[in-house]
Point group: C2
Chain length 155, copies 2
């Protein structure tokens, strides 16, 4: 695996949203549910502004050689369970198609784990579609355990 | 199933936290991880205050005959995925031990589904521990599908 030498992480800005949406659509599941067209549907920008203004939501992008090569969203949530513990939730992990197999996804998740610890979380969690066959192993290699059923109800 | 006739729902207040924590501890998984003692460890109150002050977190209690009989936490999260769609996340669903089999859990979830729709979410999701054998069927009966692995990493 050729690790990108200059991989950096930062919070996404509004000017990243187009790139992110086109990456979301360039995916077997994403292409059915996104509208990657210009101008971008307003709902994407509104969602970005909601994320950006919420201290408990962080949309993080990985950058290499000046290009956006991956991203994920981290949500920090306070709960009464576990003695009033905070959890981190990861969603929407993506790596640019031309940049896979270079450890970017792993680095993004490692970034998220460190960030969750810094923010005082006792646990980081995510759900992964059972049809993404490699994803479960990818997360297991990072220390995640598939102890739960991830259940969804679409309206 | 004897449905409680006077079941009502409201946001939890600080004076409910003791009752909630003792209910969290009265559970096969919860008893290993909670500290249900008086005075309550400060971390519970701090977590409640964080939940209560966050417009995207709602701790909801079900009440019947003046008694707190169940609760859950709903978190509303904006995402870029699904055209900038909001999701609702359910956690910490509990029904008081003496009040099970009366439809309270079902009513709590139905409340959460309606609330998630009112708040503009396109999806409601949760994870349930694979050792809670009845829970998966309970959620399937409400329309949830176990399409995802729920993966956790404890620090």
């Amino acid at each position: 695996m050729n690790q990108k030498p200059d991989l950096t992480f930062r919070l996404a800005t509004e000017s990243d949203v187009e790139t992110i949406v086109f990456m979301l659509a360039d995916d077997p599941l994403g292409k059915k549910r996104e509208r990657a067209e210009l101008p971008l549907p307003r709902s994407y920008v509104d969602a970005f502004l909601a994320i950006d203004s919420d201290p408990n939501n962080e949309l993080v992008v990985a950058q290499s050689e000046g290009k956006l090569v991956g991203f994920l969203q981290l949500t920090l949530i306070p709960y009464l369970t576990y003695q009033g513990g905070w959890r981190a939730l990861v969603e929407g992990v993506r790596v640019a198609p031309g940049c896979r197999g270079q450890g970017i996804g792993k680095s993004l998740l490692q970034w998220a784990i460190i960030r969750a610890k810094e923010k005082g979380c006792h646990l980081i969690q995510l759900t992964t579609d059972k049809t993404r066959e490699d994803a479960k192993i990818f997360y297991e290699n990072l220390g995640f355990k598939a102890t739960h059923e991830g259940m969804k109800l679409h309206f």
